[in-house]
Structures are given as structure tokens and as C-alpha cells.
């Protein structure tokens, strides 16, 4: 018998491997009521193997799915990060536009409040605050736009300076803080007269020729007096600080903090005329000129 089995081993193995799965198949496709005892035995014997194979396959598939999902999650995270960066840039751009809009609105309000003057809006395209040289800013309006030397340049906060040099498309503005600048001033509270002179630094001026007897205190606001033939009167210049009144001499001296910080200038108004013809609406002209 053993000899017979050995002799036909391969045949028997193949036959079993053919019959067993076929039996399992037919046992499975039968309804439970139709299954014979042999069917049930075959199913019981093969169930653990099925479970094992199914468990292994399902586990591998789960692992695969998780890997694929993770890969997608990484890609999605990358895309979202890119989007966040794009949106952040866009937000910053909108913030800049909003800030610019607010500045322009202030300039327009300022221009509208002075109907007797004609303004030309300009954008600052260059800044030169070298302590060894002139304190200048360059604006994008020049002779072709009607800008001339000595024209006052202002913002809604106050005086910036005066036009120092002009080319066809640009103009250099000598700032109030330059040591060559001198503007006739008046104390807004007491109407006392003085001169505001630049010191060559970015944020400091000096008050000259204020009579010792004049009513002047620290914190007083200074405005242009209009007597120097350059700046129209009433434009803010700055505030008085570090007032020094000696017991002798004709004048008292003080430092002045300028109303306009030249380092933060972006848009300015050039005062092209202190008087405009009545038929030309100043506010409309300013809004056309302001960019």
C-alpha cells in the first residue's frame, strides 16, 4: 500500500489538489440547507486557512491603503502650505493697498481742506538721508508735470520740504530736516514767530530767532507763517521740545520734532500754486493729480 502511494505520489497530490478546491467551491456555492456532512467537514477544515489568507491579504491591503492615504495627505499638506503662503502674500499685498488707500484719503482730505491752493500728487521714488550730504527725497513728478524749483512739498501731517532740483520726469525735494532748510514759523498757540532750521539728522530741527520774551512752552505746535515766500501759511511743521531760555540774550532756543517723518514718506503733495482760478475745483484737481 505504502509502495503504491509512493509510486503514485504525484498523481495523488495533483488529484487531491484538484478535488479538494472543487469540493470547497461547490460546498460554498450551495445554500446551507443543501450542504452534506462532507461539505460541512471540508468547509470546517478549510476555514482556518481561508481566514489566515484573508487576514494576511486584508492586512497587506490595509497597510497599502494607509500608505497611499499618507502619501496623498503629504501631497495635500504640501499643496495647502503653498496655498497658505500664496494667501499670506496676497493678504500682505491687500494690507499695503489698504494702508496706501488710507494715506491717499488723508492727502485728499488735506487737499480738499485747502481750496485756495493747487496740489499735485506725487509718489516718493528715492530717499537720500545721508548725514554727510543733502537730505533729499526724489518724487516721480518733474518739470513736465509743472513742478518748479522752490515749490513746497507737503503731506497731510505737515511740511516735507521744498523742491530743490527738477528734471523732466522727477524732482528732488530738500527736506525740512536738511541743514540748508529754513522755514518761517509761528507758534500756533501764541502766534509767536521763529524760524525752524534743519540739523542734518533725520528727525530733528532747531528753533531759531524766537524772542526770549515770546510765549513758548515745550509741546507747542509750530506752523508755517507764510512770510518766507515759499510755504503757504498754516502748514504744520512740528512740536517744540527741549526749550532753553537763558537769563540773558535776545533769543530762546529749542529743538523741534518734525511733524513728518521723512523715512516713512511714500506719497506727497506738491503745492503748485497758492491761488487757483475760481473755475477750477481744487479738490478735483488734487484727486486727478494724486496717484
Amino acid at each position: 500500500m505504502l509502495e503504491l502511494l509512493k509510486r503514485y505520489r504525484e498523481l495523488i497530490v495533483v488529484a487531491v489538489l484538484l478535488m479538494l478546491p472543487l469540493g470547497v467551491f461547490f460546498a460554498h456555492v450551495r445554500t446551507p440547507g443543501e450542504r452534506t456532512a462532507v461539505d460541512r467537514a471540508v468547509l470546517a477544515a478549510t476555514r482556518p486557512v481561508e481566514k489566515l489568507v484573508g487576514w494576511g491579504v486584508a492586512g497587506t491591503l490595509r497597510a497599502w491603503d494607509r500608505y497611499v492615504a499618507l502619501r496623498h495627505a503629504r501631497e495635500e499638506a504640501w499643496q495647502l502650505r503653498q496655498r497658505v503662503e500664496r494667501l499670506e502674500l496676497e493678504r500682505l499685498r491687500w494690507e499695503q493697498i489698504q494702508a496706501e488707500n488710507q494715506r491717499l484719503v488723508r492727502l485728499l482730505d488735506f487737499a480738499s481742506a485747502s481750496p485756495e491752493r493747487a496740489f499735485l500728487g506725487a509718489r516718493v521714488v528715492g530717499v537720500q538721508l545721508d548725514p554727510k550730504g543733502l537730505q533729499l527725497v526724489t518724487i516721480d513728478r518733474g518739470a513736465a508735470d509743472g513742478v518748479r524749483r522752490m515749490m513746497p512739498v507737503v503731506t497731510a501731517q505737515g511740511v516735507v520740504g521744498r523742491v530743490h532740483g527738477v528734471t523732466a520726469g522727477t524732482a528732488d525735494v530738500l527736506l525740512l530736516v536738511d541743514r540748508n532748510s529754513a522755514v518761517a514759523a509761528r507758534v500756533e498757540r501764541s502766534r509767536a514767530r521763529a524760524t525752524v532750521r534743519g540739523l542734518g539728522g533725520p528727525d530733528l530741527c532747531r528753533l531759531d530767532y524766537a524772542l526770549r520774551a515770546d510765549d513758548l512752552i515745550e509741546g507747542d505746535a509750530l506752523v508755517t507763517s507764510g512770510t518766507d515766500g515759499v510755504f503757504p501759511r498754516g502748514l504744520p511743521l512740528g512740536k517744540v521740545t527741549h526749550l532753553r531760555r537763558q537769563p540773558y540774550g535776545l533769543y530762546q532756543t529749542a529743538e523741534v520734532t518734525p511733524a513728518v517723518d521723512p523715512a516713512k514718506l511714500e506719497e506727497v503733495l506738491v503745492v503748485t500754486s497758492s491761488e487757483v482760478p475760481p473755475q477750477q475745483a481744487p479738490a478735483a484737481q488734487a484727486s486727478q493729480g494724486t496717484r
Partner: protein
Amino acid sequence: MRKVLAEVGLAVGLAVIQAALLRTLGGGRYPVALALPVVVWLGLKAATAEGAVGAAAIGWVLDALSGAPPGLHAFLSVLLFLGSRLAGTLLDVGGRATFGLACGAGTFLLGLGAMLLWRATPQAAAPGWPVLARVLLEAALTALAAPAIRALLVRIDRLVEPEETGLLG
């Protein structure tokens, strides 16, 4: 024996990758049977008993993956193994192209056999004849993929049992 085990391992790996890929790529729009070339290879190269056991094991895995009633693919895989063995004795299917053709034909016959077996049962879920077109597509795609799988099998065979240097080698 080690060779057959390695080849069955490869078949299981291919079947699992195929199932996962087809699931990921959208529900088996492009049917392919990556494990069947291994059964054909076993039929051509392995010993009868070992090869038949290997083919049955691959069939069990295919049953588990395809959701078919257990035993269907196991039975048909052993049958494909025997058919390949017969083809190997009658024809030359050792080359890449002929191996691919043999795999395509085997896949088609296995699909056809599965359909016939299904239809022989009283189950209402048995696939209808329109599935035959998909079986043909599956056979064609398997035939295309078979040469690459054959190259893998050759490499595995060399890795598991390197050829001994002969007297002249």
C-alpha cells in the same frame, strides 16, 4: 522546494499589489492577472507535486483577493498548472514572447473556466457572457505583462538556487 516557495511568494506579492493598484486606480478598469504567469512558470519549470501545491496556494490567494467562492481559483490554478506542463512538453514556450502568449491563453482559459464553473452553480450572482470581453482584455494585458514577470522569475531562480559551475565552466 525553495525555488517554488520563492516563486509562490512572488505570485502572492504580485496578486496583492495588483489588487491594491486596481483598487486605487479605480475599481479594476484594466483587469490583469499578474499572478497567473507564475502558475504557468511553475508548470514549465517546477516538479509536479511541488508545482501543483504552489499553484493551489496561489489559487487560494486569488480566491481571497477576488471575493470568488473559495476553491474556484485554487482548482483552476492547478488545472492551469497541468495545462502549462502539457503545453511545455508539446510546444516551445520558453522564450519571452511565447511565454507571454502562453500566459495570455492560460488567463483566457482560466477566466472562461471560472465563468463556466460559476454558471454550473445555482448562484444568481454568477457572471454573464458579457464578462467574456473583459476576460479577453485581461488575457491581453496579462500577456503583455508576462515577459516582465518572467524576467523577475528568472532572477529569483538565480538568486535562490545559483547554477553550479560545471567541469567546463
